[in-house]
Every structure is written in structure tokens, then in C-alpha cells.
């Protein structure tokens, strides 16, 4: 084990002076991207805040059409997938390739499970006519003229988030293939860390979406 760690296993790009510089630059770039992601979702959070302030009664009533149990299940699924991501990095740091692969597979499985739950939620809303704008056809809600506002925000926020989860699946499949190929070592695992940062942000956004959409009354 010791001689593995002492050998040269870090692919240093020729425009960097030191491996530390390369790793730090990658992290800084990823964090800059994450700030733009926060502002992208930020616009939707602003619209949520404004419409909730102006139409509290609508939000209070319409959120009851969401199943908080499914939302809670998806919260736990995403939190667990964040854990498996850090565990995969932890395993990479110790050169335990099998554990990296297991944790990445678990992450992908969680991401797909999240999307499957979301699919059932969406199809239930489609059937009930709980849709944005002119497509809102649900007759059981008491203020159909205004309730579509909530579902417009619901579908925009969870849709954009679900799209990010889908991208996350692609990223982790790519990371899994690179792990199997043997690209990563105890010295070089920066792509795992950067993919992990993206995934944690997707998790954090859901941490806010879950109470704001499913639990507010």
C-alpha cells in the first residue's frame, strides 16, 4: 500500500505548476459554476416567494394535492445518495476501487429511484389535471382560476431539479466508467470530488424544495 502512495499517480496538466494548484483550480471553477446554479434556481425561488406572499391561501390549499410521503421518501433517497458520493471519494482516497464502484452504483441507483418516484408523482398530477396555466383542468379544487399558479411553480421548480438529477445520472455513469478503467487513484480523484460537489448542490436544492412545496400550510 505504501509504495502505491509513493509512486507518481497524478496526471498533472502542463499548464499547472503543482498538483495542488490543479486541484484547487478545479474546485474553484466548480464552485463558480455552482453559484450560477444557485442564481438560476434563485429566480424560481423568488417567484415562489412572491406568489406565496400574494396568494397564501392558494398555496395553503394547493400543496395538499402533493403527497408529502413521496416527497419525504425522495428526500431520504437524495440524502443517502449524497452520503454514498462522499463515501466513494473516501474510498478513492484509500485506493479501494471496489468500494468506489459500489458507492457510485448506489448513487446512480438512488438518482434513478428519485426519478421513478417523480414519474409516479407527475403522472398522478397529469391524470388529475393539476397542471400549469390553461392546462389546469382539475375540478375538485375550490379556486381553479388561481390554483394553476402553484402548479406552474411546482412543475418549473421540480422539473428543473429533475433535469439536474438526470444530468447527475449521466455524470456518475461517466465517473463509474472512468473508475472501472482505473483513471483514479489515492492521489488523483478530482473528477469524483467535482461531480460530488454538483450532486450535493442538487441535494441542497431539494432540501429547500421539499418543505417549501410539500409541507407549507
Amino acid at each position: 500500500m505504501a509504495n502505491v502512495n509513493d509512486s507518481a499517480l497524478f496526471p498533472l496538466a502542463d499548464h499547472y505548476a503543482k498538483p495542488e494548484q490543479q486541484v484547487e483550480s478545479g474546485k474553484l471553477g466548480m464552485w463558480l459554476f455552482l453559484t450560477t446554479e444557485i442564481l438560476l434556481f434563485g429566480g424560481l425561488f423568488v417567484s415562489y416567494a412572491c406568489f406565496n406572499y400574494l396568494h397564501m391561501d392558494i398555496f395553503k390549499q394547493a400543496h395538499q394535492y402533493l403527497d408529502w410521503r413521496l416527497g419525504a421518501v425522495n428526500t431520504v433517497v437524495l440524502l443517502f445518495s449524497s452520503l454514498t458520493v462522499v463515501l466513494s471519494i473516501h474510498a478513492a482516497q484509500q485506493q479501494r476501487k471496489a468500494y468506489v464502484i459500489i458507492n457510485l452504483v448506489l448513487t446512480i441507483a438512488c438518482a434513478i429511484a428519485f426519478l421513478v418516484v417523480k414519474y409516479f408523482e407527475y403522472s398522478q398530477k397529469f391524470q388529475a389535471g393539476l397542471l400549469p396555466g390553461v392546462y389546469f383542468t382539475n375540478g375538485t379544487i375550490s379556486n381553479p382560476d388561481e390554483a394553476h399558479v402553484f402548479f406552474g411553480i411546482y412543475f418549473l421548480m421540480t422539473g428543473l431539479h429533475g433535469f439536474h438529477v438526470l444530468i447527475g445520472v449521466a455524470i456518475f455513469v461517466w465517473l463509474l466508467l472512468r473508475t472501472i478503467k482505473g483513471d483514479f487513484s489515492s492521489q488523483y480523484y478530482a473528477p469524483l470530488e467535482l461531480g460530488g460537489l454538483y450532486w450535493h448542490l442538487v441535494d441542497v436544492i431539494w432540501i429547500f424544495l421539499f418543505p417549501l412545496l410539500y409541507l407549507i400550510s
Binding site: P11, L39, V46, Y188, G196, F210
Partner: protein, 150 residues
């Protein structure tokens, strides 16, 4: 694609795995707490409590899973710039909505005298015959109307 050369990488000191499991456990407990609390009705404070707990969970994820606590503090500065901007984006429209009615009533109280007469006539159409042209002016929004009238 740049050329790479294999060199000896930086020395890594992995954290204990129990740190990550502990953070995960805390996140699950906070999720259960959010659900338990919001099932009770705290009225207006529901949303405040929910956002506070969500912020605590986000801080745990960012601090430990995203390594902000251990990494170069400049990354935390980069993150806070977007959080400050996001706070401004949310605070200003809400402050606007929350204070709009007050501004309207202030303006109504300080209407010029002749407009107040016009307003009285509009509010009490039976009291006096409407001045010629007043309804047209109202339609064209030439006359300021108080809250709830426009």
C-alpha cells in the same frame, strides 16, 4: 486537451468515515423533525421554521459533504456572494409587496384638493351628478385612485 505528465500527487488525509455517517444521521433526523413540526400548525411560523431547518441541513451538506469547512476559505466566500445576491433578490420584492398598501394610503391622504373632490364624487355617484369628462379621465387613469379601486 492539454498534455499531462504523471507526477506524485498531494498527500491526502482522509477524514473518518464516521464523520460522514454522523452528518447523514443528523440530516435524516432534521428531515423527520421538519415533517413532524410542519404537521402541527404553527400558523405563520410554519414557513419560518421549515426554512430555518432546511438552512441548517444545507449548511451541514455544504460544510461537511462539500468540504467547505476543510477547504480553502475562499470557496466559502465565492458561495456567499451568490447567497447574498439571492437574499437581495428575495428581500426586495417581498419588502415591496409588504409595504405597497401603506404607500398607496399615504398618497391617497396627500391627494391634491381638487382630486379629493373628484374622488368623493366618484365614490358617491348618487350624491352629485358626475362632472363632465370625469368618467373618461378615470378610465384613462388620469386620476389617481386609492387602494382597491384600480
Amino acid at each position: 486537451m492539454s498534455n499531462t505528465a504523471m507526477v506524485k500527487g498531494p498527500k491526502v488525509h482522509p477524514h473518518s468515515v464516521w464523520l460522514y455517517w454522523g452528518v447523514f444521521l443528523a440530516l435524516i433526523l432534521l428531515t423527520v423533525l421538519t415533517v413532524a413540526i410542519t404537521r402541527h400548525d404553527f400558523g405563520k411560523f410554519n414557513i419560518v421554521v421549515a426554512i430555518l431547518i432546511a438552512s441548517l441541513k444545507a449548511a451541514l451538506v455544504a460544510g461537511f459533504f462539500m468540504h467547505l469547512v476543510f477547504d480553502n476559505k475562499f470557496l466559502a466566500v465565492v458561495l456567499s456572494t451568490s447567497l447574498v445576491l439571492l437574499a437581495l433578490f428575495i428581500i426586495f420584492p417581498i419588502a415591496d409587496f409588504a409595504t405597497r398598501a401603506d404607500l398607496d394610503s399615504v398618497e391617497t391622504n396627500f391627494l391634491p384638493r381638487d382630486q379629493r373632490v373628484y374622488k368623493y364624487e366618484l365614490d358617491h355617484p348618487d350624491a352629485l351628478p358626475l362632472r363632465p369628462g370625469l368618467q373618461e379621465a378615470q378610465r384613462d387613469k388620469l386620476i389617481f385612485m386609492g387602494p382597491g379601486e384600480h
